[in-house]
């Protein structure tokens, strides 16, 4: 009796799994796909594909890179945000680097950084932010200086060694993200000469000290321009980042800046109902509008 009860229990379970698989795993999604063929839904269900002259060029929901084959920004196009996947929908990813990811792993000078295997270097999030800010600043002709960044675009971070471990007087200071022979961003720290970072040396005993520097609180390069998105496919940039790029795009296209600004306004989506989400500019749609002009 007990055995039969046990078996019938599992028989019911097997049947239940099969029934629900047919019902919810086939019936439900297939019916939904059918509904999605209705006019008005179909384009969206297929990925909101945007076409130019009958040729698909992207999706209005998915960001893309506006860079040339070498990865350099194409001046006549507004640039998207940094992306951890390089805008590849087949490998979406976020950086997952934390708020105190500030110490780089320096590359082996004996290896070629451009080879397939690389030189083993790894940038901390802080250096990524600093490097992007410097690059955007140079592209747009503004200062890319930021707090905690060196003028050469890496994180301004020291490993400070004390005479008694964590306290006492400073015995040594190393700018860990500036590989030798770079000149450290500051010559001395509490009277001790600051060294550049050397590959392979263990600085683990030193205390990590990010140095804020004297950059202003807000940079002309907005936050979304120096941080990677969560989706790695962010179709939007902030209105501030679009405004920053307007002058360069206008110059590259020999258009008056006012016209480009007007197009930005046209392609800015505000908050839904005035309070849901954040305003943003759809980069692909804006660039398409420029191309049509």
């Amino acid at each position: 009796m007990r055995t039969t009860g046990w078996i019938s229990q599992h028989l019911a379970a097997v049947r239940a799994v099969l029934v629900f698989t047919v019902l919810l795993g086939l019936g439900y999604p297939l019916a939904l796909t059918g509904v999605a063929q209705l006019p008005g839904l179909r384009d969206k269900a297929d990925g909101s594909v945007v076409e130019v002259d009958g040729r698909p060029v992207g999706s209005s929901l998915i960001g893309q890179s506006f860079t040339d084959a070498d990865g350099n920004p194409v001046a006549k196009y507004f640039q998207s945000r940094p992306s951890a996947s390089g805008y590849d929908p087949g490998a979406t990813a976020a950086s997952n680097l934390g708020p105190e990811s500030i110490e780089d792993t320096l590359g082996d000078p004996a290896l070629d950084p451009d080879s397939a295997a690389g030189d083993g270097s790894r940038q901390a999030l802080l250096t990524q932010v600093c490097a992007r800010s410097k690059a955007v600043g140079e592209l747009e002709g503004v200062s890319g200086a930021r707090p905690y960044c060196t003028p050469d675009g890496v994180g301004a971070v020291l490993r400070v060694f004390y005479s008694d471990g964590l306290s006492g007087r400073v015995t040594r200071a190393v700018s860990v993200n500036q590989a030798c022979p770079a000149t450290p961003f500051t010559a001395t720290y509490e009277g001790v000469r600051v060294e550049c970072g050397r590959f392979g040396e263990d600085y683990g005993k030193g205390v990590l000290v990010p140095v804020r520097g004297d950059a202003p609180e807000t940079s002309p390069v907005p936050a979304d321009a120096v941080t990677a998105s969560g989706s790695s496919l962010d179709p939007h940039i902030s209105v501030e980042y679009a405004r920053l790029q307007a002058r360069r795009v206008a110059a590259a296209r020999s258009l008056p800046v006012e016209q480009v600004d007007a197009l930005i306004d046209e392609h800015t989506t505000g908050r839904v109902l005035g309070f849901i989400g954040e305003p943003g500019v759809n980069v692909l749609e804006l660039n398409l509008a420029l191309d049509r002009r």
């Binding site: 939904l32 998915i62 490998a91 934390g98 989706s231 660039n287």
Partner: protein
Amino acid sequence: MTTATAGVLFILSLLAALAVAYRYLGDHMFRVVAAEHHGRVERGIYRVLGVDPHAEQSWGGYARSVLAFSLISILFLYAFLRLQDVVFKVPDFAATIDERVFPHLAWNTAVSFVTNTNWQAYSGESTMTHLVQMAGLAVQNFVSAAVGIAVAVALVRGFARRRTDRLGNFWVDLTRITLRILLPIAVVGAVLLIAGGVVQSLGDGTAVTTLTGAEQHLTGGPVAGQEVIKELGTNGGGFYNVNSAHPFENPTAWTNWLEIFLILCIPFALPRVFGRMVGDNRQGYAILAVMATIAIASIALTNVFELGGAGTVPQAAGAAMEGKDVRFGLSDSATFAAATTLTSTGAVNSFHDSYTALGGMMPIVNMMLGEVAPGGVGSGLYGMLILAVLTVFVAGLMVGRTPEYVGKKIGAREIKFASLYFLITPTLVLIGVAAAMATGNWRTQLNVGPHGFSEVVYAFTSAANNNGSAFAGITVNTPWWDTATGLAMLLGRFLPIVFVLGLAGSLAGQSPVPASAGTLPTHKPLFIGMVVGVVVILVALTFLPALALGPLAEGL
């Protein structure tokens, strides 16, 4: 309007909608689980299953059915994952199944979806075919949610019934909850999501040449149908690696609102079912008040920390925008993060690993609270009722009276079940973290220092509480991690369920005691405050050391 003002209005509008859901969705769910009538389709299903819908089960029978159904589900899903390339291999991955879905990953994923965790050690778009996503993973999104609600309902029957050993019929509860609650909402929600831009197709998508001449392959897939139940059933397993941050899963600011609403609506409406079944709506309101108090505090704190943007990198960048998309911004991302971890969802629209130190601590704390405010579908209600039982016990100790809750005495047997329930997840979390640290498996972390430790703590907290979100920098698709988190998910789901059903059986057998002058009223603010206090104190005592070494060390 500033981001902060808009964020506050966003939260208030959600609360208003949830208040409506409490009343109407709650009443609907009550009618479903209390109904006498069986629909035609339902009778057909019972016939195929070979079960008598009128035969109610004891707590042991109910538990055996839950376990049998879940065991078969795991075996079926494991086989499906390993054999997914046999039919309808779209998209046509270059990597073979043995290169993509290792046995340890298939085990982990099968357990993960059956336990309503949806921890994902894989990246959907490069691992799973459309067929296994919709007929394997998404099916479990429905039924694992229904199992949770069924167990909660069985516990409430234990409170509501008198002198019986019958708690209902699992197969009937499972079928009804799936067909009458989850499926209708899912269909409506899915159509809304498609209208917002979520994809729903069976094809492989579209290859395009971008404006600058690069190739980009836009993915296709039956996403909308899975997306909606992923939120509604507090599952969280995304079609894509980046989950609800992906524009094809969560395309606009308003779909983001809708997805948060879907996550919260059933867990917040279930106390209404409790109130109605025990015949006193005030008891439902009291449970709701406890949940809402904790939830609002948590959502507010997460927003404050993220908008504050403390920490070296957020200060350098000017805002904590790493891992967040522009259309959601700081505030709506933070609200999503709180909602997904206050429940057992684990979907993410932004990456918690890149949050500020304290902003990233909030999801961990939410999960450590036991996911009871409002918690996963069903599991939130039964978790909170366990805490209410513990609270009347503590209160009873203070005044020296036998504790009672909604007319049932809380004796030695009941308090044993409740205590065992409470001890499971802390045990799993702390042992798991200790094992990872002792065996060197923590080295798969991405970040270093306290943040790296937080990744390990987050992983086991998420697995043992069946959440599924992560500080995703850590690599967890290794034999050790897949096995260990799989065990944590399995034990963290089914041991509590057995204890809850045991408690239900023990309560159902009692005759109710009439309220007397010595009875602690369990619908008054005093009691609500006490439950909140018990929740916070129990968690603080258990987990403060772990938090001190991780996010607190990083953020303070």
